[in-house]
Symmetry: C2
Subunit: 365 residues, 2 copies
């Protein structure tokens, strides 16, 4: 690992990325569903273009900056999977809706009415998906009749924003039971779509998410579209879940050994500000995976130091380079302004990690 001059560096293996993008596109095509990959993982125009080229119907974003980046990268359809209830977010989303197809996920009358009013004020069209909580306990209302009743009433009332369907997020897959979470996604969509259709409200879109539940999906059932994000990179958490192998991990953080205070301890310059100190206990009790050194454990992260420990003495002198697969690739990518891109093991360029934070991204004319 000698590709990056300055460490810590975010390093992307483009060959693995392209394989991941193609595999997921094939998987969605085999299932007969649309792919709306989530941009939050990479925030990178080049990756968006690769996903669109592989046939993505649109992309999913969480923030206005990600939406603007997607637009600038050529996306013609964008799902904003985070309720934009603040005036500034609504203004930016509605501005995009004048140029591309915009869909917004939400789970309250307040959010739907705010979107509706903003659309009417701007004279633009946008669609909304209602979010169901299929067991993760984040956003979303309970699947079934009570939700269908609220959604049917809203769909009948709003004139500026149009109801298009249902969305759910099986994030509890990261608790370890991926198949159960994938089934929860399908069940939530099926039962609520049926309840809406009984009320005469067609449910065109039924959107499910997460990388592990998407890989686990063997038949579409009620699902019409999928929103995986992490799959372009994968990470130590996906490997722990069985959703990927190490050879499927496209993203590493490279560091330099800066101190060897003990034969069993290696200090690397890639700390929490390069890797993100996210522990997914019990899936990933360590703080990353050292590529090619199975005996080394990422025991602790300080801001600019990783503490790697081993049961036996290790021969890694000051100045040696190591590559770490992060626990959470999306969080690690967000800490870097750019990725060093390798192809065939050779450095071929750098890609910007854009849309970090809240600054507007320049839009194409």
């Amino acid at each position: 690992v000698t590709h990056a001059a300055a460490t810590p560096a975010l390093v992307l293996d483009r060959d693995v990325l392209e394989r991941n993008v193609a595999r997921m596109a094939d998987h969605a095509a085999e299932l007969g569903v649309e792919l709306w990959p989530h941009v939050k993982t990479h925030k990178c125009a080049e990756v968006i273009r690769a996903q669109l080229a592989a046939g993505a119907a649109g992309v999913t974003v969480a923030t206005p900056a990600e939406a603007e980046l997607a637009h600038a990268a050529g996306a013609r359809a964008i799902l904003v999977a985070h309720p934009p209830v603040q005036a500034d977010r609504l203004a930016r989303i509605v501005a995009l809706a004048a140029a591309v197809r915009v869909r917004v996920a939400l789970d309250s009358e307040a959010a739907a009415e705010a979107l509706d009013a903003a659309c009417r004020a701007a004279g633009v069209e946008a669609a909304w998906l209602w979010e169901l909580d299929c067991g993760t306990g984040r956003c979303g209302t309970a699947p079934g009749d009570a939700t269908a009743e609220r959604v049917a009433a809203l769909a009948g009332r709003l004139r500026g924003a149009r109801f298009e369907g249902l969305m759910t997020f099986g994030g509890h897959a990261y608790g370890g039971d991926v198949r159960a979470a994938a089934a929860d996604e399908r069940d939530a969509l099926a039962v609520t779509a049926a309840a809406l259709e009984r009320r005469g409200v067609p449910v065109a879109a039924r959107s499910a998410g997460t990388t592990p539940t998407t890989w686990a999906l063997q038949e579409a059932g009620p699902v019409t579209e999928l929103r995986p994000g992490n799959y372009v990179f994968h990470d130590a958490t996906q490997v722990a879940l069985g959703a990927a192998g190490w050879q499927d991990c496209a993203l590493t953080v490279q560091g330099t050994v800066v101190s060897r205070p003990d034969p069993r301890r290696v200090i690397l310059d890639a700390g929490s500000k390069a890797l993100a100190a996210e522990r997914m206990t019990p899936l990933t009790p360590d703080l990353g995976h050292v590529s090619g050194h199975p005996g080394l454990t990422v025991e602790r992260l300080y801001e600019e130091h990783a503490i790697l420990t081993a049961a036996e003495p290790v021969d890694l002198p000051v100045g040696a380079r190591l590559a770490i697969v992060p626990n959470h690739a999306c969080a690690a990518a967000n800490l870097h302004a750019r990725m060093v891109v390798l192809a065939g093991g050779v450095r071929v360029g750098e890609w910007a990690v854009a849309a970090r934070g809240w600054d507007p991204v320049a839009q194409p004319d």
Copy 2:
């Protein structure tokens, strides 16, 4: 909390910051030691200038970008408390040494020799401090004779970089026993300085660190300088340690309620990309502290969502604003390009969080 138009926003209470800066300056003056505050916490030119104006002898940094920022902000003395063993880091540090007093902390012959060679090649002077491990298990060799023997040999041999003293870091204070860690810092410095002086090597500087051990220090003993970083902001971890109260926390992340799926659950738009998902179990089992809402717990963070839960129903509608004190202010600040600055409760401007990542910071002429 209605100061920031766009959320999530990093919000700094300048009044609290100024009080923290003054209190620490007074504390160091009473102890009769120099203050070398660590820039990594804030990476902010305005904060550096406040620290220098309050009498800091110099500042401490971890990276070349932080060093360049400190130089640009007017620091005339910089301690690089991270071994710069990579060619690019050495080149940037040595370039600064032509303009300001530069000191480098290291713990290996390899790092010392690399610094020495770089100084000689550039025709500049730099000093080095040897790092001792006083119990944290990060960088540093064991206090005592064996280390003194190595340092004395190096100090006698190197001609381009000059030995100036010893440094230690009582980071194990964050394990909970702050007084013991502060005592470990003093003991490590005292025993190793005595061993060096027995060998005829004067130890001008004896540098100790961390915010909690600095606040806990009641007499200087062998310590000649202190390197606290976090004290300018404080955070939920410092409060859990007893090193600060909530009224001493200058930095919050403001978020907007975007979803209320349950009377006991509040979803905020400030997730791990705004707060950093760092849990310091058992000190901080939650993921932040909701200001003014003692009944709300920050239970989980997703990238763009915080899941707040309560035992009783809470009345916070979609659109309401909340402020969260992060668990780790240094990690939270690093996620934002700027801070919204309040004085007297009123927004008075924005300060850049610069030197994030590795890009060179423009230096003054």
